[in-house]
Symmetry: C2
Subunit: 317 residues, 2 copies
DNA sequence: GAACCCTTGTCATACGTATTACCAAGCCGT
DNA sequence: ACGGCTTGGTAATACGTATGACAAGGGTTC
């Protein structure tokens, strides 16, 4: 390549790095670019990384690829990263931890953007880490959705409609985000009935909702920890012959695709996933620069659809 | 590191590569391992890649991260890759093509596993490529779901129930998989009514299904190109006061989470996504070995749930 | 006892890049 | 005319690994 351009390899490197200002005459510069184009030259990443001792790559760890929020999170993170010359490599965590460990171990990445995995932070050695959607008390900067605020919005909406007896179908998962959702709701409706799902899937949620609703003093509204659980609540309501929202109001959380696929469409809270990814990546890059980013909490937005209404006894006859 | 073990760097390399058999005395071997553990030694991937001229990494290109099938596809592919010492890096394609191009350009990957993107194959230069879920006439080995067989299974199921007039809500996407679905259904029910959605989302599917159903001679069953579209058909049916499956049978395709979240649960075809990923990765690794893998078609499985039944006029009164 | 082989390592080198130090001119000013 | 400055470029080096060539010492074989 250097031979083809008729100059030394050093010159090629300088020109291609864009540092030719005042160092290389325009003609030679042109010649180098010409040769590069002709030969289809591409810099070798391995060599560059070796020489520079850095990879300009960060690892995005997601708990699972099936979750609906990770697409936008990735998009937001990747865009910010790209604007700073960084690449993003994705790794689904629980499926198989091996590849990520090897990525970390072999110094192939410079930092980690982790979502919802407080326990595993120490696994990344002393690499800079930013966690998303996790306990702010974690030993790393946290970028979160304001789930407490979102849940308060739901509670406020239901209170305004006139609901007094509330049920809560809670996700049986030990994660910060669900703990906060539960606490925020308990604060707003101290006497709410709570039933745990045994897992986050529709069938389990249906069972839990049935235990909540199949009783004489059933609540007039059920708040679900996420949209998927709300789908289970729909099924329970249908099984009991309850009309939504006539006999029962139902709310979800996250505003995934499912929310508008259900009938009636689900009142829920939309979370700014793309902004979360972007904000978290910004924080991680700050961390890589040696600065100390502060934690952030991003507000969600209450989306009122057709699954909530006034309680039966409060409706005009 | 070599100093710490009291041996030369060459010896370290030999020992750690596991090629010490008959070349290094067990004591030295032990000393090297000891030193490696004490220093927490990790090989530098960039240096290794540079020296070997290969990265043992393949790129998995997915059209979008939100699709429900990519988790299993990744899992299957990653497991096979790992068993052969390869890593997998994910790249969502349409969101942003930049990073992938740079990955390819900088020789950071050795091959590409592409899903559902016939048009873009040439973008990968002369890298080995295996495509999933794509036209077998593509200039690369194709690993596919047997969607034609799946659609025939649906058609057979409906025919057996007694349905004669069929509607088809087709996805308005120019992709091999949807073209085949349409052709297979048209073969089984030559006179079927077809309506295209304007996009793959619930609202558009609802509109298309309404145009199909809101007529005197409406079909007794609608076949939808995927589960999401089926959700739209559910909404249309509800809007027209049609009971599923009493007045109308509905079928989906793919068996995503949504299928069991709907009420009634959706009859659909389950596709072996994890096997697809594993098979495709196997083919790609064969290609890297210089062999010529043949195309594969993986059968799906008809899952009969509650959304299909005999047509109204055929039911016992 | 000499030629040979086997064992156990080490030396030297190459991969492709970025960068520091250096060098050869040409051009000033005094 | 000569030292110093500027301009335009090259030589040398280092990053960490893998590997083919080579060397020293000890045993075996005739």
């Amino acid at each position: 390549m250097a031979r083809a351009a008729g100059v030394s390899q050093s010159t090629v490197s300088i020109v291609l790095a864009g540092k030719a200002e005042g160092r290389v005459t325009p003609e030679t510069r042109q010649a180098v670019h010409e040769a590069a184009r002709r030969l289809g030259y591409r810099p070798n990443l391995a060599a560059r990384n070796l020489r520079l001792g850095r990879t300009r790559t960060v690892l995005l760890v997601v708990p699972t690829l099936t979750g609906a929020v990770f697409g936008p999170i990735y998009a937001g993170a990747a865009e910010v990263a790209a604007s700073r010359g960084f690449g993003v490599v994705l790794h689904p965590w629980p499926d198989d931890a091996g590849p990520a460990r090897s990525q970390v171990d072999t110094q192939a990445i410079e930092g980690v953007l982790a979502s919802s995995i407080v326990g595993g932070i120490s696994d990344f050695g002393d690499l800079p880490v930013v966690v998303m959607d996790s306990d702010p008390a974690a030993p790393a900067p946290t970028i979160n959705f304001d789930v407490a605020g979102g849940m308060r919005a739901i509670a406020g909406h239901l209170a305004e409609l006139g609901h007094r007896r509330i049920g809560h179908v809670a996700a049986a998962v030990d994660a910060w985000t669900f703990r906060v959702r539960g606490e925020a709701l308990a604060d707003a409706f101290p006497g709410s009935l709570i039933r745990q799902t045994t897992a986050i899937d529709v069938a389990a949620a249906r069972q839990a909702a049935l235990r909540l609703l199949d009783r004489p003093d059933r609540p007039s509204a059920v708040v679900c920890d996420d949209d998927l659980i709300a789908a289970g609540a729909y099924k329970a309501a249908r099984a009991l012959g309850l009309d939504i929202p006539g006999d029962l109001s139902v709310t979800g959380f996250d505003d995934v695709l499912l929310a508008t696929a259900l009938e009636p469409e689900l009142t829920t809270v939309r979370l700014p996933a793309e902004r979360l990814g972007a904000t978290a990546m910004t924080a991680l890059l700050e961390l890589l620069d040696g600065r100390r980013p502060s934690g952030v909490s991003l507000p969600g937005e209450l989306v009122v659809r057709a699954s909530t209404g006034p309680p039966a006894q409060a409706r005009p006859r």
